[in-house]
C-alpha cells in the first residue's frame, strides 16, 4: 500500500512536467508528419530517444540533408551534462541494476530537476516507487502526446492556439519554481552569479553552454566564499 501511495505521489509530482511536455511533444509529432513521415516515425523517435532537443535537432538535420552522424556527435556533447545529473542523484537510486538502468534512461532535464528535490532523502523502496511514478508519467506523456501530435497536431494548434501558446510556459515555470525552492541565504550569491553567467552565455551561444556557464560561475563564487569563511 505504501509503495502504491509513493507511486501516486510520483505521478502527482510529474503533473508540471507533463503540462510542459504535452505542447512540445504534440508540436514534434505534428512537425514530423508534416515533413511527410508516417505516424510511426515520430512515435519511434519519442519512444527510443525521449529527449526533446535531440529529437528536434535530428529531425531538422534529416529533413535538410545535414549528415546525421555529425548531428549525433553534436548531441552527444550537449547530452554530456547528464553525466553530472546522474552523479548528483545516483545516491537515491535503487542498488539493483534492473531497477536502476530504466530509471536512469528516463532522466530528462525535467525528471532530473524534480528528482533533485529528494536528493537528501534516504534511498528506500518508497523513494524508488516515487521516482518510477515520475519517470513513467513523464515518458508516457511524451510518447502519447507525440502520437496525438502526429495524428491531429495541426488540428489542435489551429483550434486552440492560445492554450497551446500558454502551455509553452510550463517548462520555464517548472525550472524557475524548482530553482526558487532550492534557494536559501547560504547559496544566494553563488546562484546569482550562476544566473548572470547563464544569461551571458545564452545571449551568445546555446543552452548547453549556458548550463556550464551557470555551474562555473556558481562554483567560482562558492569556492571564494568558502576560502573567505575559513580562519
Amino acid at each position: 500500500m505504501s509503495i502504491l501511495h509513493a507511486s501516486g505521489r510520483g505521478l502527482r509530482a510529474a503533473i508540471p512536467i507533463c503540462l510542459g511536455y504535452i505542447p512540445v511533444a504534440i508540436t514534434f509529432g505534428a512537425v514530423a508528419t508534416s515533413f511527410g513521415y508516417p505516424l510511426y516515425v515520430p512515435i519511434l523517435f519519442s519512444a527510443t530517444i525521449f529527449a526533446g532537443g535531440s529529437q528536434f535537432i535530428l529531425l531538422a538535420a534529416l529533413q535538410n540533408g545535414t549528415p546525421w552522424l555529425y548531428v549525433v556527435a553534436l548531441c552527444a556533447l550537449i547530452d554530456s551534462r547528464h553525466v553530472i545529473y546522474g552523479s548528483l542523484i545516483r545516491r537515491i537510486f535503487p542498488e539493483s541494476l534492473v531497477a536502476r538502468v530504466p530509471l536512469a534512461m528516463s532522466l530528462t532535464d525535467e525528471v532530473f530537476a524534480t528528482a533533485l528535490t529528494q536528493r537528501e532523502a534516504e534511498p528506500t523502496r518508497d523513494l524508488t516507487a516515487w521516482l518510477a511514478g515520475v519517470a513513467v508519467a513523464a515518458y508516457l506523456c511524451w510518447v502519447l502526446s507525440t502520437a496525438v501530435g502526429g495524428a491531429v497536431g495541426t488540428v489542435i494548434q489551429d483550434a486552440a492556439p492560445a492554450v497551446t501558446k500558454a502551455m509553452h510556459f510550463a517548462l520555464p515555470a517548472l525550472f524557475l519554481a524548482l530553482s526558487l525552492d532550492n534557494l536559501h541565504r547560504g547559496n544566494a550569491w553563488p546562484l546569482a552569479a550562476g544566473a548572470i553567467g547563464a544569461l551571458g552565455a545564452i545571449m551568445v551561444s546555446n543552452i548547453a553552454v549556458a548550463l556550464f556557464a551557470a555551474i562555473a560561475a556558481s562554483v567560482a563564487v562558492c569556492s571564494w566564499q568558502y576560502r573567505e569563511s575559513r580562519p
Binding site: 548531441c75 546522474g86 538502468v101 534512461m105 510556459f169
Partner: protein
C-alpha cells in the same frame, strides 16, 4: 533519405542519449568522477542548484531573444513573478506552475486584445 538510414540515425541517437544517462549509474561507487561530484564540499553541493538556475535562465530568456517583438518580455515577466509569488505563498511547486501558466496565458490574451 532511405528508410534504413532513417532507422539507423534514430537508433544511433537513442544509443547516445541512453549511454549519457546511464554511464554515471554504471560506474563503480568509488570512481573518481562520482567521488568528486557527490562529495559534501560546498562547491560540489552547489552544482545541482546551479544547473536548475541555468535551465531557468535559458528557458525563460531563449523565447524572448528569439522573438522580434519586445512585448514578448511582458508575459514571461508576469509568469515569472506569479511563479515566485505563488511558490512563496503556498510552498507547492505544482500549484505555482499551474497558476503561472494561467497568468501567462491571460497576459498573452490581454496583449493580443490591446494590439488588435
Amino acid at each position: 533519405m532511405n528508410h534504413s538510414t532513417l532507422l539507423v540515425a534514430i537508433a544511433a541517437m537513442a544509443v547516445v542519449t541512453a549511454c549519457c544517462r546511464v554511464i554515471p549509474f554504471l560506474l563503480p561507487p568509488k570512481s573518481r568522477l562520482l567521488t568528486l561530484l557527490s562529495s559534501d564540499h560546498p562547491t560540489t553541493k552547489i552544482i545541482g542548484p546551479a544547473l536548475l538556475v541555468g535551465l531557468s535562465v535559458a528557458t525563460l530568456t531563449q523565447p524572448i531573444m528569439d522573438s522580434t517583438n519586445w512585448s514578448t518580455l511582458i508575459p514571461y515577466g508576469v509568469g515569472g513573478i506569479i511563479t515566485a509569488l505563488i511558490l512563496r505563498w503556498s510552498g507547492n511547486v505544482g500549484l505555482a506552475v499551474v497558476v503561472a501558466i494561467v497568468g501567462f496565458g491571460l497576459t498573452e490574451y490581454c496583449l493580443s486584445l490591446v494590439a488588435a
